[in-house]
């Protein structure tokens, strides 16, 4: 045993014939030992920081290979000066080259080490590829570039779904594609060739129906969804105002006849666009697909319709790839969700991080602090100063009484800012349009607009209740329109319409709930 150890030591020592090969031996051996050491720690559960994978699976194997290349290089240089054969005997001892049954001792040792290296590199590569499939690799390897998306991803509904599950996909082809793409990314990072902010990758995403539908398949879409949105007013009390929508996100699997809002049921609801049998194709009007030149629909029953955008003249910009509509045409920021400043402040108030009961004009001041213009790196201090100064200067009583309330609000605002604004990448508030809805970007209105008309010149439907019923609209009462309308209100007819649109039936009474001229005030002059 001790003879073997002393031979290996002699072998390693022998390999280090000059500076280069010495360095090779040191690098290879130490990176191997470090790898083994870190892996043992990881297996023992002593290391949990995924970030260390960058060292273990990328840096150490790379060093290992570098060292291995240095050793023969050193010997090759040595061999150019003196005959290598003499050197070998001098370095490893006379007995090393004595032929044995299977070969000389030296040959066997080199063969054994080579096998060991291959095993190590093989295992290392598997570990490395596995590590490169981890979100932490995607999110942190190009730290500053990917940081905005990485930050958004970590607090998203898909935080437990790996980047590669959507961005790379299954199989060796996808992996190869991704690695080749990765080489280009390395080059563009090295030579600073990338755009800021990084454009949404609409062109090289995997087909969404293969990825998204692993979990969200059309048969599993659920029905309409009620969403209550609270906006706080800019007044002293930051009074809540409710907009309640019943989002018609169902697939439209209703039977023949009319849906409950009177539409032809073959039109269905929003996920009808991807329900089986329906095919929607369009030609984008621009490379980022923010506009649509034409869109056509082939329905399950064989009917066909084409709508052309009369605003985009047929002369410019033709030749963009015709695309079959899929998930990402609407869910373009699935996972990579940035919050707008107003939504964020509304959320902080709703969750209690900003206390509107204690802080007068909480909404107004929080929004002002959050959307101030700050020099890079100054935002945290700036938000603190801006918000605190208002309550010191204008509401001194509040500031003294509620320091902790202000502290809490400030730190909440700071973290919202950090999550959503990344100056170095030019990711500022609402840098990316979100096609869900129409609050931040053209959304549904890219196609559902008065400008997209069919052969008969009819515009594609684009009214509000096409996509959502409304149970309240900027109201004190979150379910305002579920109660009967007030005949005295100018909104009476709208109220009545929205009530009936949602409930699906007109009230039985023969009395008009919104009679014209209910007030006899206009008797005119003379």
């Amino acid at each position: 045993m001790s003879r073997t150890v002393s031979w290996i030591l002699r072998f390693l020592h022998g390999l280090a014939a000059n500076t280069l090969s010495s360095a090779g031996v040191v690098i290879t051996t130490s990176s191997f030992l470090a790898f083994v050491f870190l892996e043992i720690l990881r297996l023992a559960g002593l290391i949990t920081n995924a970030y260390l994978g960058l060292v273990t699976y990328l840096a150490l194997p790379a060093l290992f290979i570098l060292g291995l290349l240095l050793i023969p290089l050193g010997w090759w240089l040595l061999g150019r000066r003196t005959p290598a054969a003499g050197k070998i005997e001098e370095r490893f001892g006379r007995d090393a080259t004595e032929p044995g049954r299977l070969g000389s001792k030296l040959f066997l040792t080199i063969a054994a080490f080579t096998l060991l290296n291959l095993l190590f590199l093989g295992a290392g590569s598997v570990r490395m590829l596995g590590f490169m499939d981890e979100p932490v690799f995607c999110g942190t390897a190009c730290h500053s570039v990917m940081n905005p998306e990485w930050t958004a991803y970590q607090s998203s509904p898909h935080a437990r779904v790996r980047c590669v599950d959507c961005h790379v996909g299954q199989g060796p082809e996808a992996a190869l594609d991704a690695k080749l793409n990765g080489i280009w990314q390395m080059i563009s990072v090295t030579f600073d060739l990338y755009e800021r902010p990084i454009p949404t990758p609409v062109h090289n995403l995997r087909p969404a129906r293969e990825t998204c539908e692993q979990c969200h398949w059309p048969e599993a879409f659920y029905g309409d969804r009620i969403k209550r949105i609270v906006h706080y007013s800019m007044d002293r009390d930051s009074t809540p105002r409710y907009t309640t929508l019943s989002l018609k996100v169902g697939p439209g699997k209703f039977g023949p006849g009319k849906t409950n809002d009177g539409r032809d049921s073959k039109q269905g609801h929003i996920h009808w666009h991807v329900a089986s049998g329906n095919l929607v194709r369009y030609e984008p009007g621009d490379p980022s697909r923010l506009s649509v030149r034409w869109v056509e629909v082939r329905r399950a029953d064989g009917t066909f319709e084409r709508y052309t955008n009369r605003r985009l003249s047929s002369v410019h910009g033709h030749g963009l790839e015709v695309r079959v509509m899929d998930c990402v045409d609407c869910h373009n920021r699935a996972t990579h969700i940035y919050e707008g400043p107003e939504d964020a402040v509304d959320r902080l108030i709703r969750e209690g991080a900003i206390n509107r009961k204690v802080l007068p004009f909480a909404k107004r001041q929080a929004l002002a602090a959050l959307t101030g213009e700050y020099a890079p790196g100054d935002a945290a201090t700036g938000i603190d100063l801006d918000f605190r100064a208002y309550y010191r200067g204008n509401q001194p009583g509040t500031a003294a009484a509620s320091d902790t309330v202000i502290d809490k609000a400030v730190s909440a605002l700071q973290s919202v800012y950090t999550r959503n604004v990344h100056e170095n990448m030019n990711v500022t508030w609402n840098a990316y349009p979100n096609h869900l809805g129409h609050r931040n970007g053209p959304g549904c209105f890219r196609c559902h607009s008065e400008y997209l008309v069919n052969k008969q010149g009819r515009a594609m439907p684009h009214d509000c209740t096409l996509c959502h019923s409304m149970l309240a609209y900027d109201s004190n009462d979150p379910f305002e329109f579920l109660s009967p309308p007030d005949p005295e209100s100018p909104d009476c007819k709208m109220h009545l319409y929205l009530n009936q649109e949602f409930t699906g039936h007109a009230r039985g009474s023969s009395r008009d709930p919104c009679p014209m001229s209910r007030k006899a005030s206009n008797t005119g002059g003379k």
Binding site: G457, C464, M494, Y497, D512, S517, N522, T523, G524
Partner: protein
């Protein structure tokens, strides 16, 4: 014609489903409101604050179109029209519609045959005619099937007061009753008329502002009760009259009218002013309004002074100037053939179309500066020192003779007399004698 959707405002009884028989989904107006509250919040809010909103008069009551309407188009399942014409408004506001249709305002769109339009199209160019002339006078709305709302964009937007609408009606109520609040207060204010009645050729708004009436209005605007349903001068307000007060609104002895000519006795627009048909009745109508605040002698006195200026202008400058131009044209003395292609035509044009009108309008509404410095002063200066010399340059014996004869007229003879003689005649009253007949209207 648009379908009769609902009932007159005057019918106060609530009735069930007013649009049940015209194939419009029940509650369609509610659908309009849902989107437009979001997409055009300003428009929605204007409507929300309007009397219409208080009476549940909603989108389709005005904008619904019938199948045959040439400007109708299907929008979200309902056939509508962008353009709302006096005919549409008249479904509820019948009297007002009829009065407007009968008024001079409703003829304003026929400007295309007038000298003003010729000048704008020839010397200016079509874009100026569209955004200038037609914005006040009204365009002839053309149908363009490829336009989203079927309206040709050279002719719409337009809310000119004499707009020629595809349904055959003339005018646009929104010229004065601005969409979508249709505020009475706004229509009653002088600025409403001042959208068009201003500038070098008819500065009514400026004259009003110069006059005591305007002066007091702007001081006491808060006492004007401008938004009141009933607005009878003397009963509901007394601080000052606005344009609307004198020309349209009710007085204790005068019904309100949307025919703006009902109280106007002179034509102050053409080169030579004439008394309008039935001018005595018209003048009496106006005097009825005046006497809500003024004594009879005061009112008669005003008309005497006003008539004096108009006839001074007519007799001393307008008629001889017109005769001179007619002679020049008859003899074919102008270098270029086209109208307005010679300097002398522009001189004459500005004398009557700008300066002469300023003088007459100034006198009609008690604007001293417009009567004299912007008015008769400019007329005299350009008559004597631009028009007559330009005629002389033509070198025609007959024209020269006409001018020589004209200058022998006692009103013009001062040009060849000494200052001291003239001053003597002014002091003695002899000079004034020349004008003594001008204070009586021509028909008396």
């Amino acid at each position: 014609m648009r379908i009769l959707v609902t009932f007159s405002l005057l019918i106060l009884m609530p009735l069930a489903s007013p649009s049940a028989d015209d194939g419009v989904p029940a509650g369609a107006a509610g659908n309009c409101m849902t989107c437009h509250k979001e997409k055009t919040p300003g428009l929605y809010r204007q409507w929300y604050l309007s009397e219409h909103a208080k009476h549940n008069v909603t989108c389709l009551d005005c904008h619904q179109a019938a199948a045959g309407d040439r400007d109708g188009f299907v929008h979200e399942g309902v056939r509508i029209a962008t353009l709302v014409t006096p005919k549409d408004c008249g479904r509820c506001h019948k009297t007002e519609q009829q009065e407007v249709e009968a008024s001079y305002h409703a003829t304003a769109g026929r400007i295309l045959e007038s000298a003003d339009a010729y000048l704008a199209f020839a010397a200016g160019g079509q874009p100026a005619a569209i955004a200038g002339c037609e914005s006040c006078h009204g365009s002839k709305i053309r149908i363009d099937p490829s336009s989203p709302n079927k309206l040709n964009r050279d002719t719409w937007p337009n809310s000119g007061i004499g707009r020629l609408n595809p349904d055959g009606s003339n005018g646009s109520c929104t010229a004065c009753h601005t969409r979508h609040q249709f505020s009475k207060a706004q229509a009653r204010r002088p600025e409403s008329c001042g959208k068009c009645h201003l500038g070098p050729d008819h500065p009514q708004e400026e004259i009003y502002r110069e006059s005591k009436h305007g002066n007091v209005f702007y001081t006491h605007v808060n006492e004007m009760n401008l938004g009141a349903d009933r607005w009878v001068v003397g009963w509901d307000y007394s601080a000052a009259p606005t344009c609307a007060t004198c020309h349209m609104s009710a007085a204790p002895n005068q019904k309100k009218t949307h025919d703006v000519g009902k109280r106007i006795s002179w034509t102050l627009r053409p080169p030579v002013s004439k008394m309008k048909p039935h001018w005595r009745q018209r003048r009496e109508n106006m005097k009825q309004v005046c006497t809500a605040c003024h004594g009879r002698r005061f009112v008669d006195g005003h008309y005497r002074q006003f008539d004096g200026v108009v006839q001074l202008y007519n007799e001393k400058f307008a008629k001889p100037g017109g005769r001179l131009m007619a002679l020049i044209k008859k003899k074919g003395l102008l270098k270029r053939a086209a109208r307005f292609s010679n300097n002398i035509e522009w001189i004459y044009w500005e004398i009557w179309h700008h300066e002469g009108r300023r003088a007459r309008h100034g006198a009609s509404m008690m604007g001293p500066d417009y009567t004299w410095w912007h008015g008769i002063y400019d007329v005299a200066k350009h008559f004597y020192f631009d028009l007559l010399p330009a005629a002389g340059e033509l070198g025609d014996p007959e024209v020269d003779k006409f001018v020589d004869e004209l200058l022998k007229d006692p009103m013009h003879k001062w040009l060849s007399r000494s200052t001291s003689d003239i001053k003597k005649d002014i002091r003695s009253g002899k000079m004034q004698e020349l004008y003594k007949d001008m204070f009586k209207p021509a028909g008396e």
